[in-house]
Amino acid sequence: MTNAPDNPTDPAEQGFLNGDESALKLAYDQHGALIYTFCKRSVDAESAADLTQEVFLAAWKARDRFDPSRGTLAGWLMGIAKNKVIDLHRFRGRRVNETELQTELATHTDDSNLGGESRIELLADKMLLNEALKTLNPRSRQVLELAFYHDLTHPQIAEKCDLPLGTVKSDIRRGLQRLRTYLDPAHD
């Protein structure tokens, strides 16, 4: 599967490839809040700060393994973060941040049978999905949101947005491609 993003070359991604140290700062400015928030919702605040540091250091160390044709930097960083959070949970042998877990369970009773690691995977996916949607143009985003949240059929979306069905389909197709670059990074 080709996950080539159709957005223009990202300077942070390009800098990562070139080993340009300023790219690390750029990547941090762009994705630091995403990674930190993900960590903080998965572990305690102090560990979250440490993990965030480790994610960016590990990413920088392994930057020659980053391939933008196989996924976005955000998706790659989140993959590293997910592994570090799961490692920490395994190391501690318990689910950290029980309050967060209970909140989550209260909100989504369907999650009640999800283990800690599945919950972490889902949280990462949700946050990446949101990030990916933000990068779509407003029309494509609206089309996808109608498909996702309102469960409308494609002809219904076309009618509601007053768009040709072909446009709705191509918007959805492009949106899916973009989402894959965030949620399915095919890195090592």
Partner: protein, 243 residues
């Protein structure tokens, strides 16, 4: 509505992805969309740890040519990746005997990997040094700017089985409420041996039980007179013996 457009129908794979993403989207709540900026210390820590490696890489790149290399400089390993690896890997921030100086570790670890093999190594005639290295100051984490003008040379001499580290130092900093101390450090940066306080040139005794080959990094640091036996993390000169 009939689709007369050339846009092809969705493949099975696309439909599966659509379902999968829709089920994730269904779980998305407002709280998932709110991002919190990390505390400023997070970036400061990253910068510091990446900077330590960069300093080590610079140290190698600017290694002095005063000691005649036994190995051609072109034989040196590529510095950049190893240096970054050494300092970026969390495992290198070892506490333990270093106490106050975890930052130093990455820089030394990287420098050690790269300096080894780059310096003169003579052996044989009585009176000749067993090993010798130019000591140099490197700007960056782990080094104290007070040593910016300092230079030196360290050589291991063997006088009938009694070995000493012969130091020739110049432009040493004036330190108040502190003293200079010389250390031998291992290449894994896991252990070190203090050879004690120094005032300047002289041959500092190396205990017979200490194998300099196991601790080839020569390091001179500024140590505050605070009773703390660990390395301060404020080096002024450093070099790696090829032994």
């Amino acid at each position: 509505m009939t689709d007369h457009s050339p846009e092809p129908d969705f493949s099975t794979e696309e439909l599966a992805d659509l379902d999968r993403f829709a089920s994730i989207a269904a779980e998305l709540t407002e709280s998932d969309t709110k991002l919190e900026a990390p505390p400023a210390a997070v970036w400061a820590g990253i910068e510091q740890r990446v900077g330590a490696s960069a300093a080590a890489a610079t140290a190698v790149a600017t290694a002095p040519a005063t000691a005649e290399p036994a190995v051609d400089v072109t034989d040196r390993v590529d510095v950049t990746d190893s240096a970054v690896d050494a300092a970026a890997a969390p495992d290198n921030v070892i506490q333990g005997p270093w106490g106050k100086a975890p930052l130093l570790l990455g820089a030394i670890a990287a420098a050690v990997l790269l300096f080894v093999g780059a310096y003169a190594f003579t052996q044989g005639n009585a009176g000749d040094p067993i090993a010798e290295v130019a000591l140099e100051f490197t700007e960056g984490p782990g080094f104290d700017a007070l040593g910016a003008n300092s230079t030196g040379n360290a050589a291991i001499l063997d006088d009938g089985g009694d070995r000493c580290l012969d130091l020739e130092l110049s432009a040493l900093p004036e330190v108040s409420d502190a003293y200079l101390e010389v250390w031998l450090i291992d290449t894994n940066v896991e252990g070190m041996v203090s050879l004690g306080p120094i005032k300047g040139d002289g041959c500092v005794s190396i205990p017979a039980s200490v194998d300099p080959g196991a601790f080839p990094v020569v390091d001179i640091s500024i140590e505050p007179a605070d009773g703390e036996p660990t390395h301060s993390g404020r080096s002024i000169l450093r070099g790696v013996l090829n032994i």
